[in-house]
């Protein structure tokens, strides 16, 4: 006898996996800007063409831009006088 497994059951199991992904991904102990990066990457992955490739590029660009703009402020003024 040929029997097929019901798709709604697989859907529920897939939803558990989806929930685990969102729970872990959004549980970032981070600053607000990091949360913004997570949101932008997630949205790009779902909306843009070549979703995950574009999302990785956009997210990496945001992080590198932040590092670039924060670099001068990270210098300890006390050390400059030594």
């Amino acid at each position: 006898m040929t029997v097929l497994f019901p798709l709604p059951v697989l859907g529920v199991i897939l939803a558990v996996e989806a929930g685990a992904l969102v729970w872990r991904g959004s549980g970032v102990r981070v600053r607000s800007l990091d949360a913004l990066v997570v949101l932008v990457v997630a949205a790009t992955a779902n909306l843009a063409p070549y979703g995950f490739l574009s999302a990785t590029a956009v997210g990496s660009l945001m992080i590198h831009l932040r590092r670039a703009f924060r670099a001068p402020a990270a210098v300890d003024p006390g050390r400059e006088t030594e």
């Binding site: 939803a15 989806a18 932008v40 999302a55």
Partner: protein
């Protein structure tokens, strides 16, 4: 003569080992370059995508009765996830099996394992797969299937020696083999690991249970299936 062959073999083996170390070492380099926040964003994006598929396509696939079945599964999961000693996934799979046996053949949907069909893909198929499948998959594979999996394994199974290199090497080798026996690409991704863990699968025996539970659901190839 034998000595020269052995020397040649040693040279070839050392070069192969060098190539293997270079290729697998690339995972470590990428792992340090890709910001962790981006990996988290990829996870959330993948979760949203999978959730859309689950509730947008799978759950409504069988109409009204399918919604009742899904609701029963969710209630079962909610009840059993509070009792981690009993694997909730087994109960859900048994419920699905009972439903399928009760309804017999289901023309509206379902899933089944296909028998292996060994053969090398054509050059066109390789090119199409590279452009349309492999390229978009690279960041998802690196982020979700390698980097996030290593992080989760470190958290939940500390001291097991799960490294980027080991995950990347086994992942790549397995998919190279799967491709020539007609299988579909698979990964040892974070979502599956977290899902199995949440549903009670905490040991290596979980893979054997999964494989043996899929086997009875095989069926013949549907008409029009590309061979």
């Amino acid at each position: 003569m034998l000595k020269s062959v052995a020397a040649d073999l040693r040279i070839v083996m050392s070069r192969l080992d060098f190539g293997r170390r270079e290729l697998s070492g690339a995972f470590g380099d990428i792992g340090t370059d890709l910001p962790p926040v981006v990996v988290r964003g990829i996870q959330v994006g993948l979760g949203v995508k999978l959730g859309t598929i689950a509730y947008g396509r799978y759950v409504p696939a069988e109409g009204g009765p399918g919604f009742y079945l899904a609701a029963a599964c969710e209630l079962l999961l909610a009840g059993l996830l509070l009792r981690p000693r009993f694997p909730a996934a087994v109960a859900v799979l048994l419920l699905g099996t009972g439903w399928a046996l009760w309804h017999g053949t289901n023309p509206l949907g379902g899933t089944a394992a296909m028998p292996p069909a060994a053969g090398l893909p054509s050059r066109e198929a390789l090119w199409t797969g590279l452009v349309l499948l492999a390229l978009p998959q690279v960041p998802l594979s690196l982020g979700n299937s390698v980097l996030a999996t290593r992080d989760l394994a470190d958290d939940w199974f500390p001291g097991r020696g799960v490294t980027l290199r080991r995950i990347g090497t086994t992942y790549s080798l397995f998919n190279a083999v799967v491709g020539v026996v007609g299988g579909i690409p698979v990964c040892q991704g974070f979502g599956g690991m977290a899902g199995h863990y949440a549903m009670g699968g905490r040991t290596g025996g979980r893979s054997c249970t999964t494989a043996s539970s899929i086997w009875p659901w095989r069926r013949s190839r549907p008409s029009g299936w590309a061979t």
